[in-house]
Symmetry: C2
Subunit: 151 residues, 2 copies
C-alpha cells in the first residue's frame, strides 16, 4: 500500500476551509466545476473533469466522515481502477495565522506511474484551494493548471 | 518506508531537461539559487535556502548515478534528520511532444507531517523546473512559491 501526502497552510479561518471541502459549492470552486451530489455523511459526490470541452473522466466518493473544522473523509467508489477502494482524508487544524490542511490519499495498491501523476496533480489542486480561500479565485477544472501530457 | 512520487511532462527536449537536473547551473535555475558543488558522479552538491534574506536550511546530496537523458540519482547526506539516508531519483523518457519526468524521493522512515510538506513543495519545484524549460523562467528559492507557514 502507498499513500499520497500533502500539506498546505492557508491564511483563512478554519470554518471557511472546512466549507470548501465539505460542501458541493466549495468543492466546485477549486477542484472541478462539474461537482454533483450530496455532501453529507453517507452521500455520494461526483466529480467530472473535461478538457477542450470533452469529458475526460471523473470520480465518485462516498462521504464517510465529516467533523466540522477538523476532518473530511471520503471513500472512492467509482473512477479509475487504481482509485477504487482508496480513501481521501482531509485533516484541519489552526497554527498561528494559518489553517493547516493535511491531505492523505491512502491505500494505493501499487506506486504506479498514474499515482505519480495524481500526487503532483493533487498538489496543484491544493494550491487552487489555497488560492480560492486567500484570493477568492480558485483554478478548478476545466481551468486547472496542466502538469503534462496527462489530463 | 514511504516515498514521495511525482510526474510532470515538459515540452522541452530530453537533453535540456537532463541538463537542468545534472548540472549546478541547471539546478540553481529552478530549485535554489544557492547551489554549490560538483555535479558529477561521486560529487557532493549543496543546496541552501533562504527566506527574507535569512538562511533557513539546506541539503547536501551525493551524486550516485548519472545516465545522460535517462536518470539522475542522489543520496541525501546532510540536512534535516528525516532526509538523511533517503534517495532522490529522477527518471526521464520521451513521450510524444513531452519529456516525462518521474520523480521519487524514497526511503522516508515515517510519513511525518514534514513529509507531507516536502511532498507538496517538491510538486511546486517540479512546476518551477517545467516553467524554466518551457518559458526560460523558473522560480527557485528565494523566489519560490510559498505553500504555507513552513519554508
Amino acid at each position: 500500500m502507498a499513500d499520497i501526502l500533502h500539506r498546505v497552510g492557508i491564511r483563512s479561518p478554519l470554518n471557511e476551509v472546512y466549507e470548501a471541502l465539505a460542501t458541493r459549492d466549495g468543492l466546485a470552486a477549486w477542484w472541478t466545476n462539474d461537482t454533483q451530489g450530496e455532501g453529507k455523511v453517507g452521500g455520494r459526490l461526483e466529480f467530472r473533469f473535461s478538457a477542450d470541452g470533452v469529458e475526460i473522466g471523473g470520480f465518485a466518493m462516498k462521504v464517510l466522515e465529516l467533523h466540522p473544522r477538523e476532518l473530511v473523509l471520503w471513500e472512492v467508489i467509482d473512477g479509475p481502477a487504481e482509485w477504487i477502494g482508496t480513501s481521501i482524508r482531509w485533516r484541519l487544524r489552526r497554527e498561528g495565522d494559518y489553517t493547516i490542511v493535511l491531505f492523505e490519499h491512502q491505500g494505493w495498491k501499487e506506486p504506479v506511474e498514474f499515482m505519480h501523476h495524481c500526487s503532483t496533480k493533487w498538489a496543484i489542486f491544493l494550491m487552487s484551494l489555497k488560492s480560492l480561500l486567500e484570493t477568492g479565485q480558485g483554478a478548478p477544472s476545466p481551468n486547472d493548471v496542466q502538469i503534462g501530457d496527462w489530463h
